[in-house]
């Protein structure tokens, strides 16, 4: 059973292939994603994030989940040498952190119910669990120059993949103001057992430009596949362990 909804401005797909799947369980995961959006969206005036930015809530009085996100954000800023900074825009915006965190929570919820074979895909970042009809999930990396194509097929088991980049940037945008390194790389995919790591490191590595793939190589537990504007890919030493074709 696969259901897709647009939440947090992106399509979120939940697919459970276990025989005894109950639609209500999948709906409960969507309810969770909606609550995450309400709490963390910097674009909702009533969100906790907005309240923090308006100084309506003291940092010492934030909710437990917000504390979790804050700790994760501080750690990630250290891990990525400042490339991943939730305060970079001049206000607190943990959006980049929340996506991976929310997927991980959702995965735990499904596992707790007892599901083994499923995937959760939030806007192209995903976690796959178990298998489909006995064979591993096949995950494609999208061609940043042609949305209908995939350029790599991976076989994943209990594993996450996140891709940062934009297809708009890969096309015709002429931007005299942007830093050159940001237009050099069009796609950065990061694979690993932790969806939080895959997501936060894909975001940070993409912002690093060409150096991003070296950063991924230097991190434990993640592998990466980077595509530049010429259609050349650079990948880390362990990446081929995941590759089907």
């Amino acid at each position: 059973m696969k259901i897709t909804k647009i939440i947090m401005g992106m399509p979120i797909a939940i697919c459970v292939v276990d025989k005894a799947v109950d639609k209500k369980d999948i709906e409960s995961i969507f309810t969770f994603f909606k609550s995450v959006d309400k709490q963390f969206s910097p674009y909702r005036k009533t969100s906790e994030v907005s309240k923090i930015n308006r100084n309506e809530i003291l940092l010492s009085a934030v909710s437990d989940v917000m504390k979790e996100i804050l700790e994760l954000s501080i750690q990630t800023k250290k891990d990525t040498h400042g490339y991943f900074d939730v305060d970079a825009k001049g206000y607190f915006d943990p959006s980049g952190m929340v996506k991976g965190w929310a997927i991980e929570k959702a995965v735990k919820m499904l596992k707790k119910i007892g599901y083994k074979n499923f995937f959760i895909d939030a806007g192209g970042d995903m976690f796959v669990s178990g298998s489909k009809k006995g064979s591993l999930w096949n995950v494609g990396i999208r061609n940043p120059f042609n949305r209908d194509q995939i350029v790599k097929i991976l076989e994943l088991e209990n594993c996450a993949i996140a891709t940062s980049g934009t297809t708009i940037r890969g096309q015709h945008i002429v931007d005299p103001y942007h830093d050159k390194t940001l237009t050099e790389i069009v796609s950065m995919s990061v694979v690993g057992p932790s969806v939080i790591d895959a997501d936060r490191f894909a975001t940070a590595a993409f912002a690093m430009g060409r150096d991003g793939i070296s950063f991924i190589e230097s991190q434990e537990g993640v592998e990466g596949y980077m595509i530049d504007k010429h259609g050349m890919a650079t990948y880390t030493s362990g990446f081929t362990n995941y590759v089907l074709s």
Partner: protein, 154 residues
């Protein structure tokens, strides 16, 4: 955000796709456009799923002028575009807001890492269960553009 103003030349493929998108917006999975690098208006492909090309774009049913679209949430930031219509057709799209990548502070040392490998990307034929790619920005982009063109419609 004017300093992040960007200009793009849009191919008809993107437009077709976005019109398709607007029709299918209530459906849960929107069809995505076929756009390749170096493509220009004379060599566009319509999306494979396009059974009915969007007539408005081809025949020019817009009022000339510049129309600003809604600010749409791309989750990592806001997107807002304005559509420039001339001769009844969309002639340009200007980015008023665009998600900014994280501020860079320190550069990672760029010493060569021989363990990294390279290859030219190649389209793969086999079927897959899921696809990983950056989608959030382009969906927000199409939403904002759609709202701009709604204003331009005759």
């Amino acid at each position: 955000m004017v300093d992040r103003l960007k200009k793009i030349v849009l191919s008809v493929a993107v437009l077709s796709a976005f019109f398709l998108y607007s029709w299918h917006e209530r459906q849960e999975q929107a069809q995505l456009p076929t756009v390749s690098r170096h493509q220009n208006i004379s060599e566009v492909k319509t999306p494979s799923s396009s059974s009915a090309p969007p007539p408005d774009i081809l025949t020019g049913k817009y009022k000339d002028g510049t129309y600003t679209g809604d600010v749409t949430d791309a989750f990592y930031g806001n997107i807002q575009v304005s559509a420039v219509i001339s001769g009844g057709r969309l002639s340009d799209v200007v980015f008023l807001q665009y998600p900014n990548d994280r501020q860079t502070s320190i550069r990672i040392s760029t010493e060569s890492m021989p363990i990294l490998k390279q290859e030219a990307i190649e389209a793969q034929e086999a079927d897959v269960d899921i696809v990983s790619g950056a989608t959030d920005t382009s969906i927000a982009f199409r939403k904002s553009l759609k709202s701009a063109l709604d204003k331009a419609a005759l």
